[in-house]
């Protein structure tokens, strides 16, 4: 005993360690889940009726909950659970009201905050309280709708006194499905949804009091009823009509909500009584259990048992008769009541509502009724189905079974294990769903938005499955190991959650069914041994196979076919998991048990897949899968790796160069060197790909921003996102957030007009902002366009003059005028109030973009809108450059800013009086920037027509950069000068050339700045090379 205890402690300790070890991973994931949650909520905000968005939000919350649970963050799990509950009630009840979305978003923020706090290792108690308050708030006005899912809290709903009763009319409707409702194929939830469509649901309260203990629960029985407050302009008849399809199966009472009784007062003695009585071991559950037992012992046939049960039910004394008997009602009153009772109306409700009885009286009556229920075994004897002696023997055997705590259903399964077609194995439940409802989609279409998360999911799932295998093995040795069982359960639960989020139906179904099996084991209904253990192993193997298939899958492969071998396994799992003994080949029925409603939804929208053969679980062979895991690495190490590989590439080219020099003319060739070259290039590419992240996160932030802004400014604005999947270096993406935010804010604030103004201009009142990312020529372009008023050229011009940025006589192109908004100081308060006064922080935007080696351009059309186009390099670590020679030096011009290069004719170079040197390129005239002068370095060439000019673009303006010669292109590994020195104006950084020398990378913007500062003052001393005719031609150019 002592030894066992020690053993246990050790094990639980290990579990804890596991929990913390996964915590870091969890936090990473939690951030993703929260982002997904936010994204879904934003989609909902855009379209409140978007059911898929609710589902997505739900899945994200669910995954977060599962994860928090696994790593032992109970409080977080609990919070998320409540969140989930709120979502749950909208899951089938879209549209979500806007204010609710707002609050959910706030709650998401609070959750994010909690996660961040937990991540820092602090206690988020205050945040949790705040969130709790928020969630409580959320629940109040709409009531607590819990649909019958497995996680639903059994706690009674909070008092719902705040229910508003606005005209038209609020009805109080009770929906009481017949206990056998499921068997008629009716899902009572459909009735609720129908009711909901008729008006506004003020409150929905489920009555869970009748739920028996789990071991007594018959998944095919409906134990629940609901009270709904519906505000509608429909008449009660119309409501009844709408629900007519439910027929007799669902009892509906409709009464105007005139009584001041809020729904929740139902937590009254009557219901308490009810729950007590239902849980009484001798109550209803026992006839069922006994019936099963008798059928299994072949004392009765299933049909007989069922009939007997119905008859038995009919012999229950009615409440009315009992009331008369004990003197609570007179016979006359009862008669009146019955006459007034609408068909299908519940007696109990009517009698209380009519003021005949109090709740407590009803409770006492219910207990009395309980006591008066005839003993079913007596019934059976009286009906002549079983003789008294047999019955006595059977009852004794039944009692033994019951005390042995060996659940009947589990006993039943043993003989039925592999022989599923024996009709004699039928339980009292004659027509339970069988293997035929195990339908899987024939193939899984993997949603686009899931693809990028697949690798992570696969890695995670593999980890869980391997852990499950380990724990299953330990269960094999020690079946009582609850810790191991829980660990396995959690693993499957997480897989289920995530696969559900990724819409991987097959995996989800499989995980779900296995979870059910494990759940039964957890509840002590079955012991995971032998057959059950094999089954569990088979499902881990099957899941592994699925994960393996998923890994092999690439987006080009189309849908993922479903392994037909899964169907029998799933059938077996479902049979065992729901505690049914065998199948009879009955037609497919909608799910009965609450736990299975999820599974049904699979069956409904996917083509049924009938297995050709059924029988033993044909689990796929256990394959040892190659282990492919994701590793989260801190950025510093990654940077070091990228750097070191960069050095390797340089060293490699140095080796190559030395080799070439040494063997020059000898005709020697190396076979190894080209190979080395290729490998180091591959390595470099690989190391750079490690740093790539999608734009998704930052785009999502923008949609949140647009939403908040549009709400705040009361300006309806829609944001369209394209190309979120485009990947960029993480450094670039991280630094892109700020400028993009400024731009989006400007677009909403200044770009989009007020709704009235838009309407007046004949535009739709909703503004539209499009954020689009795409690849082009090795760069990434990010376009932000609005359909607002556009930039006002004249106003900008006047503003520019006012600010002294331009002078009256200056001739600027449109692009140059628009570029004025980027000028620092242009974004003053005065500019903001200007009609076209964009410019809040636009200088910051440009600086940031340029710091990223990018550029930004503006296109605008008055009245039509404005488009900003940001061009960015894929990465900052490597840059394509053009090597140019200047004297003895080599410089690298970023290819991103290079337009073209050529040798101008002497007649194309002009000195414009007082304006500086220009070069004419076809029909354009651009300033000539002499690199040697800007850098103050010696050059071999001072005549443009002897050297070369490289046309570079800076902020939409072109410059002709005079260099000595072109040396070729280079993929430069960028080294910052700041690292060991400081920023140098005109230089973007340095790189190391193939020969080991350092070459400077030019910063075109910086160069033009220097050029502008240097002005024309020095020119006269050096302009002797400018020929006189050129200067004379100046006139025609002005």
């Amino acid at each position: 005993m002592v030894a066992t205890c020690v053993h246990r402690t050790a094990r639980s300790k290990r579990m804890n360690i596991d929990g913390t070890r996964y915590r870091a991973t969890f936090f990473e994931e939690a951030v993703e889940h929260l982002a997904a949650l936010e994204a879904a909520l934003l989609r909902l905000d855009a379209n409140p009726a978007d059911a898929a968005a609710v589902d997505d939000a739900f899945r994200a919350a669910h995954s977060l909950k599962g994860g928090a649970d696994v790593v032992g963050l109970g409080e977080l799990a609990q919070m998320t659970h409540r969140f989930e509950n709120i979502l749950e009630r909208f899951r089938h009840a879209a549209p979500i009201p806007r204010p609710m979305v707002d609050r959910l978003l706030e709650a998401t923020d609070a959750l994010t905050h909690i996660v961040a706090t937990l991540r820092r290792g602090e206690s988020p108690s205050s945040a949790i309280e705040e969130l709790q308050a928020r969630l409580d708030l959320d629940c109040e006005p709409i009531g607590w709708y819990s649909s019958p899912h497995e996680e639903q809290p059994r706690a009674p709903s909070p008092p719902d006194s705040s229910v508003r009763r606005d005209p038209p009319t609020t009805y109080r409707i009770t929906v009481t499905p017949h206990p056998e409702a499921f068997r008629s194929g009716l899902d009572p939830l459909v009735v609720l949804r129908t009711i909901e469509e008729l008006g506004t649901l003020r409150a929905v309260k489920p009555h869970l009091e009748q739920l028996p203990r789990l071991r007594d629960l018959d998944p095919e029985r409906c134990y629940m009823s609901w009270t709904v407050q519906l505000e509608t302009d429909q008449s009660p008849e119309a409501i009844r009509q709408a629900c007519a399809f439910a027929g007799e199966v669902v009892e509906l009472t409709i009464e105007p909500e005139s009584a001041r009784r809020p729904v929740c007062e139902d937590a009254c003695p009557a219901s308490v009584m009810r729950s007590v009585s239902e849980n009484h071991p001798c109550a209803v559950s026992e006839p069922l259990a006994l019936a099963k037992f008798l059928v299994e012992r072949q004392v009765l046939t299933a049909e007989q048992a069922l009939e007997a049960l119905y008859r038995h039910r009919g012999r229950y004394p009615t409440l009315g008769d009992l009331a008369v008997e004990v003197g609570l009602l007179t016979k006359d009153q009862l008669r009146q009541l019955r006459e007034r009772l609408a068909p299908g109306n519940g007696f109990a409700q009517a009698v209380v509502a009519g003021g005949y009885l109090t709740d407590s009286d009803l409770g006492r009556l219910l207990r009395l009724q309980e006591q008066r229920i005839p003993v079913w075994s007596e019934d059976l004897i009286n009906d002549g189905l079983v003789d008294r002696t047999t019955m006595a023997a059977e009852l004794a055997a039944f009692a033994t079974h019951a005390t042995a705590a060996q659940p009947i259903s589990a006993v039943a399964e043993h003989p039925a294990a592999s022989d599923v077609s024996l009709p004699t194995e039928t339980s009292a439940v004659a027509d339970h769903p069988a293997a035929s409802d195990v339908s899987l989609p024939a193939e899984t279409v993997i949603p686009d938005d899931s693809i990028e998360m697949l690798p992570e999911f696969c890695a995670e799932a593999t980890e869980h499955l391997e852990a499950a295998d380990r724990h299953l093995l330990s269960l094999d040795n020690d079946p009582t190991n609850a810790e191991a069982l829980n660990a396995i359960y959690r693993g499957f639960h997480t897989i289920k959650g995530v696969s559900s989020m990724l819409r991987l139906e097959v995996i989800r179904t499989l995980a779900h069914e296995t979870e059910n099996l494990l759940n039964r084991a957890r509840d002590g209904e079955i012991i995971l041994q032998d057959r059950y253990l094999d089954l569990a192993f088979a499902s881990t193997d099957a899941l592994k196979q699925q994960i393996h298939n998923l890994r092999q899958w690439t987006p080009g492969h189309g849908p993922l076919p479903t392994d037909p071998a899964l169907t029998p396994l799933l059938a077996e799992l479902r049979r065992v998991g729901t505690g049914r003994s065998a199948e009879t080949g009955a037609p497919e029925k909608p799910a009965a048990a609450a736990v299975r409603s999820e599974a049904v939804s699979v069956a409904v929208h996917t083509p049924a897949h009938h297995p050709g053969t059924e029988g033993s679980s044909t689990a796929p062979p256990r394959v040892a899968l190659p282990d492919k895991e994701t590793v989260r690495v801190d950025k510093e190490r990654l940077d070091k790796l990228t750097n070191t590989i960069g050095e390797l590439v340089i060293a490699q080219s140095m080796v190559q160069q030395e080799f070439d020099e040494l063997t020059a003319g000898s005709g020697w060739h190396s076979r190894a060197l080209p190979e080395l070259n290729k490998i180091s290039r591959d390595l470099q590419e690989l190391s750079l790909s490690l740093r790539m992240v999608p734009l998704q996160g930052i785009f999502q932030k923008m949609s949140r921003l647009v939403r908040d802004l549009s709400r705040k400014m009361n300006k309806p604005v829609e944001l369209e996102l394209h190309g979120e999947e485009i990947e960029l270096d993480k450094t670039v993406v991280d630094q892109l957030g700020d400028p993009l935010m400024h731009m989006v804010r400007n677009a909403v604030d200044h770009g989009i007009e007020a709704a009235d103004e838009r309407r007046a201009a004949g535009k739709p009142p909703e503004g539209r902002i499009t954020l689009r990312a795409y690849h082009q020529g090795g760069n990434v372009f990010i376009e932000l366009s609005d359909d607002g008023r556009g930039l006002d050229r004249d106003r900008l011009w006047r503003k520019g003059i006012e600010k002294g940025l331009v002078t009256e006589g200056q001739r600027l192109t449109d692009a140059e005028i628009y570029a004025l908004i980027f000028a620092p100081g242009f974004s003053t308060a005065a500019a903001v109030t200007d009609v076209s006064g964009r410019g809040v922080g636009m200088d910051v935007v440009r600086r940031n973009i340029e710091a990223l080696q990018g550029s930004i351009a503006i296109r605008t059309q008055p009245g039509q809108g404005t488009t900003f186009t940001i061009r960015l390099p894929l990465t900052l670590a490597i840059m394509d450059g053009l090597m140019v020679g200047l004297g003895e030096d080599v410089y690298v011009v970023p290819l991103l800013s290079v337009v073209e290069s050529f040798r101008p004719r002497a007649s194309d170079v002009h000195l414009l009086a007082g304006q500086g040197e220009v070069v004419r390129v076809r029909h354009e005239v651009m300033p000539l920037v002499r690199l040697y002068r800007v850098l103050r370095r010696p050059a071999r060439v001072s005549d443009p027509w002897v050297g070369l000019v490289v046309v570079v673009e800076d902020q939409g303006k072109k410059y002709a950069l005079l260099v000595d010669e072109l040396l070729g292109q280079i993929q430069a590994v960028v080294k910052s000068l700041d690292a060991n020195f400081r920023r140098v104006e005109g230089l973007a950084g340095a790189t190391i050339l193939g020969d080991g020398r350092v070459a400077m990378i030019l910063d075109v913007h910086g160069l033009t700045q220097i050029h502008a500062q240097q002005g024309f003052m020095q020119i006269p001393h050096e302009t002797s090379f400018l020929t006189t005719p050129c200067m004379n031609m100046a006139g025609e150019l002005v």
Binding site: N643, T644, G646, E647, I650, A651, D889, L935, R936, R937, K975, S976, L977, A979, N980, F981, R982, V984, E985, G986, L987, A990, I992, G996, R997, V998, A999, M1000, I1010
Partner: protein, 159 residues
């Protein structure tokens, strides 16, 4: 300003004596704290850095790292000489940065205790001695001890 501060500096570093790498520049000997010296390199190809102060000779590739090179002759206002095969670059660390110092030749490693060192004399307000921590005597030699951080404060030498 410096006498007091330098005194303090000397008292802090000479408790048990420190080692200095000494080098020659023109006809004088200087010392830098040896713990700050990362390596000593022969002169190799330096890429000039445009638009920087004249003492910044440029940058050098030190095993993949771009390291700025400061010519101490220029820094001290001495006559520049041609670099030859005896020209040496002392690579020192300044905070997180790595900087190369061009000197004429490296002499030896010297143990300096508080007895050996005196504060830098006040040379008048026109002379900047802020980067001199003290002067050490060994026999007939006078060695100027340099404070690398003050010598290579990039923010101060910014163009």
């Amino acid at each position: 300003m410096n006498a007091l501060e330098n005194d303090r500096a000397i008292t802090t570093f000479t408790a048990d004596g420190r080692q200095f790498l000494t080098f020659r520049l023109a006809d004088e000997e200087y010392g830098v704290e040896i713990l700050r010296v990362q390596e000593i390199k022969g002169y190799s190809k330096i890429t000039p850095l445009p638009n920087t102060p004249p003492e910044i000779k440029g940058v050098m590739n030190l095993r993949g790292t771009v390291v700025p090179i400061i010519d101490l002759r220029v820094r001290f206002g001495l006559r520049e000489t041609e670099y030859n095969r005896f020209t040496v670059i002392i690579v020192v660390t300044v905070g997180t940065k790595i900087v190369g110092l061009v000197v004429d030749a490296v002499s030896d490693v010297l143990n300096v205790t508080s007895q050996d060192a005196v504060a830098a004399p006040d040379l008048g307000s026109g002379v900047d001695t802020s980067f001199i921590t003290g002067i050490a005597r060994t026999g007939e030699r006078l060695i100027t001890l340099l404070n690398v951080d003050r010598l290579v404060g990039f923010s101060a030498t910014a163009a």
